[in-house]
């Protein structure tokens, strides 16, 4: 490793810039969010490339910049990660290994993992050898993460897991997962949970790829049938999983302010929205002032969303706002992503609903429109964000939760998740 204790920030920045330029391909956030990829081979190739890049970063001393040295990191202050992120701007980066592998997964292990767990997994993550996923949402659960019904029953020094998790991005090409389970049905909801580490490729764990309406199959559902996990793979105390879960959620909220992940500076601000100007051009309506207004509106929302993210990020860092304020950004970006896709469909006109090969940007407007709500659902719905903002940021009264103190087995649940 090339780093020395003494390397100062400017030297580090310069070294990072040189290394990135010499070793990485130009590009950036090319992952097709809403449109999804239907090409399995291309997906696997991209994963393999990301593992390579992560390994190269590790070898050059740029992986885990703010992770402790004893687990393979560099032990440097956050400013160094910031400098590296600036160097990354405009280049490929191993996004799948950053989120959720390094945060929240590695972040949770750092806080709650045993020494053994940390030594086993964190260096492997930093080297790109272990891709991690969060086994959190459940088919009957929606936004109610703590309502997990996937059950872990103790059997000597092992646990036996049964149930199902869903909305795991790319579980089919991943290696490990953090899994939230219910270990005690006689305690109230938040008090009977426990977190486990489990390998995703093992008997009894069936990964099913979910087809979305746009043909994308990046999300998975996992079915767990008598999956055995040694007690040494438990994270945190038995029945105290919500203490782990609370921090897990915290790391999720803080992603773009986290020093644990590498991402090109500004990537959080990448508009990622549809190219409304391009759609207007390909639909032949660039001369129509009403359509020009719509193009402008889309740009307004993108730019304001980025300014808002910067403001809230700064306020959270300076503790003028609590980290719950991240929900403000989540809400705004969700709503505005849905709106810009609607604008795209409006601008495309008939060509948005029915298109020919070679139509240009307008050809994507239809499917983007069909998928528009995913921006308001994935990663916590906008409704949940509104709850958090009103209750946690504005201090308005909490929603009455039924049976907060009842044994969880007695709390009403969706039919599909009743047992």
């Amino acid at each position: 490793m090339a780093t020395t204790e003494a390397e100062d920030l400017d030297d580090f920045r310069e070294r990072a810039r040189k290394w990135v330029t010499a070793n990485l391909r130009p590009g950036g956030a090319e992952r097709a969010g809403l449109r999804g990829s239907t090409d399995e081979e291309a997906e696997l190739a991209a994963v393999a490339r990301e593992r390579e890049v992560q390994r190269a970063m590790f070898d050059a001393g740029f992986a885990g910049i703010c992770f402790p040295k004893e687990y393979g990191g560099q032990g440097l202050p956050p400013a160094y990660q910031g400098a590296f992120n600036e160097a990354l701007a405009g280049y490929e980066y191993p996004g799948r290994l950053q989120v959720p592998t390094l945060s929240p997964c590695a972040a949770v292990l750092l806080e709650f993992g045993t020494e053994e767990q940390k030594r086993q997994h964190i260096p492997a993550m930093l080297k790109g050898e272990e891709l991690w996923m969060q086994l959190l949402s459940e088919p009957g659960g929606g936004s109610d993460v703590a309502g997990a019904t996937t059950t872990a029953m103790r059997d000597g020094e092992e646990w036996i897991l049964n149930g199902s998790k869903i909305w795991t991005t790319g579980a089919w090409w991943s290696d490990w997962g953090l899994c939230l389970t219910r270990t005690n049905w006689d305690l109230p909801k938040h008090r009977g949970l426990t977190v486990f580490i489990l390998p995703l490729r093992q008997p009894g764990l069936d990964v099913h790829r979910i087809e979305m309406l746009n043909g994308s199959r990046e999300f998975c559902q996992e079915f767990l049938s008598d999956v055995r996990v040694p007690d040494t793979d438990r994270v945190g105390d038995v029945d105290d999983g919500w203490t782990v879960g609370t921090r897990w959620m915290f790391h999720e909220r803080m992603l773009y302010n986290s020093p644990l992940v590498s991402f090109p500076a500004g990537a959080g601000n990448a508009a990622g929205g549809p190219d409304l100007l391009g759609i207007a051009r390909s639909a032949g309506v660039l001369g129509d002032v009403a359509m020009r207004e719509r193009v402008g509106e889309g740009r307004v929302l993108d730019v304001v969303g980025n300014c808002l993210q910067d403001r809230v990020g700064a306020a959270v860092r300076s503790r003028q706002m609590s980290d719950q304020a991240a929900a403000i950004v989540r809400l705004f970006k969700g709503i505005s992503a849905a709106r810009t896709r609607t604008l795209g469909y409006e601008i495309a006109g008939a060509a948005g609903g029915v298109w020919a090969d070679g139509d240009g940007a307008s050809a994507d407007a239809g499917v983007d429109f069909l998928m528009r709500q995913t921006a308001c659902i994935g990663g916590g719905t906008t409704e949940m964000a509104r709850n958090v903002i009103s209750e946690r940021v504005l201090g308005m009264p909490r929603e009455p939760a039924v049976g907060r103190d009842l044994p969880y087995r007695d709390v009403p649940r969706s039919a599909t998740s009743r047992r």
Partner: protein
Amino acid sequence: MLLEPLPDQESLRDTTAKYLADVMSSEQVRRLRDDAAGFAPGYWRQGAELGWTSLLVGEAQGGGSVSEHGLVDLTLIAHEFGLRAAPGPLLPANIVAGALSAEGAGDHSEVVAGLLSGASVASWAYAEEAVAATEPAAMACQVRAEGDELVIDGVKRPVEAAAQSDHLLVTGRTGDGLTQVLVAAGTPGLSVEAMHSVDLTRRFARVELRGVRVPSSAAVGSVGGAGAQVERQFEQAVVLACAEAVGAMQAAFDMTLAWTFDRYSFGRPLASYQALKHRCADMKSWLEGAHAVTDAAARALATAAPDAAELASVAKSFVGDYGAELLQDCVQMHGGVGVTFDHDLHLYLRRVSLQRALWGTPAEHKRRITTLLEQRGDA
């Protein structure tokens, strides 16, 4: 749809509802994704026997309304199609059947007979790229008379079921006027190229006509004088598109409301959350508004009321805007499962989104309404 259908209208609707329930499960609709035509000929023929293609055709030609107003009857069928996201060229086949059998259309009885029996399919080649569907005068397709023949040049898109059609009714310009011509599939100079759409079963194509020659008798109505008929067809298409979209809105709303009762979050059914209750109330108001204006437009058009043109545009604009919002709210309440392929919701989302984009977007119809308002002010 109609609050108080006549008994004959009810039985028309019921037979179609039962038939679709039998043969067109959502599983079957999903399977048709991979079917090149999007529907089977037998399915269509059986539907034709139930009256799917006869309602805009006069009794003398073998058709007939079950009430006084064939278009209103037909909206009941379209509504059932929407309720099931059913496949088949309901809209274009009827528009063409109606056009061919209209007074002064000329003799096209053989083609009409084929449409009535469901043995053949026809479609309307009306729309053009980058021309608002609300402004037929701006279309580029040319029809010119040469001796006993008509020669057609132009590109039409999208044309529904063009590749599945035995005949196309092509609308083009002759000087400043409009002309409609019936062109048989396979006529030299006619080429059909498949397009893609947001819908799972409806198929569309780009139709190119290069020096296509047909005998003068292929004209439907007068050469250069078909403007009024084209407008009527367009407004019929608009109303049918709305009726189908309203059916899809109703299905999606019902499904979503039921879901809010079944699904629990934080120990309570979704239906108990005021934010979602209020969203459902808004949706209900849009849904009833969509029913109301579509019915009003169908009635106005069927009775040639003076506000028919405006009502058609009002309906299309409203159903387009609010139908799409309603469907997206349904998706939101379902969460991720609502955009999975195995769920039924997207079938309706697709249908509503398709109908929003075709036959004039909400924006185009709003502009048309303003023009109509100005004309009324001038009158």
